[in-house]
């Protein structure tokens, strides 16, 4: 809608160019990206499941409590792989498949830390480490707060 209104203001030559460009620009391989993300994301989740079974089998963790050590382990592994430069390659191939699982969080923290390493430890690494992950923490906490609020209202007064 917006784009069409803007386009009306363009001169005929510009409009012509726009169509010319649209015909020739490379198409975004959405389906291919989705399939890649699906499979790589699935592999990451399978590894997570294996780790949680490992903790349940060898330690006294139940299905209820196994989440915390599993998440910690997955983040730790993705941080190591980011440091070694392996995770970047996986991310290049998989896109959202490697960014959406919790491993993407570890990648975001470490890659920001590596990027700002040259600016020193305090003002470089220290202040820039959570540049990307900070928003994950903020909105994650906020979303959890909102959901908890809704649940409390629904169970206390809504009679659910």
């Amino acid at each position: 809608m917006m784009a069409n209104e803007k386009r009306k203001k363009l001169t005929p030559t510009q409009q012509e160019y726009h169509l010319f460009e649209k015909e020739r620009e490379t198409k975004r391989p959405v389906v291919k990206n989705c399939i890649r993300a699906f499979f790589v994301g699935g592999v990451i989740c399978t590894i997570g499941q294996a780790i949680s079974y490992f903790y349940m089998y060898f330690f006294d963790f139940t299905e209820q409590t196994v989440g915390n050590p599993t998440v910690a382990t997955m983040i730790f592994l993705s941080m190591i792989f980011t440091g070694l430069g392996v995770y970047d390659r996986i991310a290049q191939f998989a896109g959202a498949g490697s960014a959406v699982p919790v491993t993407g969080f570890g990648n975001a923290v470490i890659s920001a830390a590596i990027e700002h390493r040259t600016e020193g430890f305090v003002l470089g690494v220290g202040s820039n480490m959570f540049k990307l992950a900070g928003s994950v923490i903020l909105f994650g906490t906020f979303a959890a707060f909102v959901v908890a609020l809704i649940k409390t209202i629904a169970t206390q007064w809504g009679g659910l």
């Binding site: 060898f58 006294d60 139940t62 209820q64 409590t65 196994v66 190591i80 792989f81 070694l84 430069g85």
Partner: protein, 158 residues
């Protein structure tokens, strides 16, 4: 260089995973003396087999349900420990199923203190305990203690 990176990563993971595993020595030590048989004063072997009929009945009743994949149970004269696995797609209704089974068990076995869980770890633990019952000639108090331990584990939230 790349090879070295992979090697380093593999070593780190192996050491780290290995460090978490229980040591064989500690395991073996705790098993020492488990092969002995307890005897009465007249030299007869003590048999402490606890009647497991209640547990078997509970398992049979739970397995009747079509949303249950597998069930296992152990009982003493006071306590009944039941663990079951819910079929994959039925896990969406997990809380409701748990509630129904709890009520069913309380109705069927009013004289028992019932511990029930759909947790996989509790299932494994219960299965392990049932296996030990057959082998180890534990007395009832010891089994009660084990059931209490499993109950506490199932209550843990963090």
């Amino acid at each position: 260089m790349n090879m070295r990176k992979w090697l380093f990563a593999t070593i780190v993971i192996c050491i780290w995973m290995g460090g978490c595993a229980k040591e064989q020595g500690v395991k073996q030590q705790s098993l020492q003396g488990s092969g002995f048989m307890k005897t009465n004063t007249n030299g007869e072997i003590q048999r402490n087999n606890i009647n497991q009929q209640t547990a078997e009945r509970a398992v049979a009743r739970i397995k009747e349900r079509d949303d249950i994949k597998d069930a296992v149970a152990v009982n003493t004269s006071e306590k009944l420990l039941v663990a079951y696995q819910i079929k994959h797609m039925h896990r969406f209704y997990r809380k409701q199923i748990e509630k129904e089974i709890d009520q069913q068990l309380i109705r069927l076995f009013p004289n028992y203190q019932i511990v029930s869980s759909s947790d996989l770890k509790i299932f494994w633990k219960t299965e392990e305990l049932r296996g030990k019952l057959g082998k180890k000639n534990w007395n009832e108090q010891k089994v009660d203690e084990q059931i209490e331990k499993i109950r506490q584990l199932s209550k843990e939230r963090t």
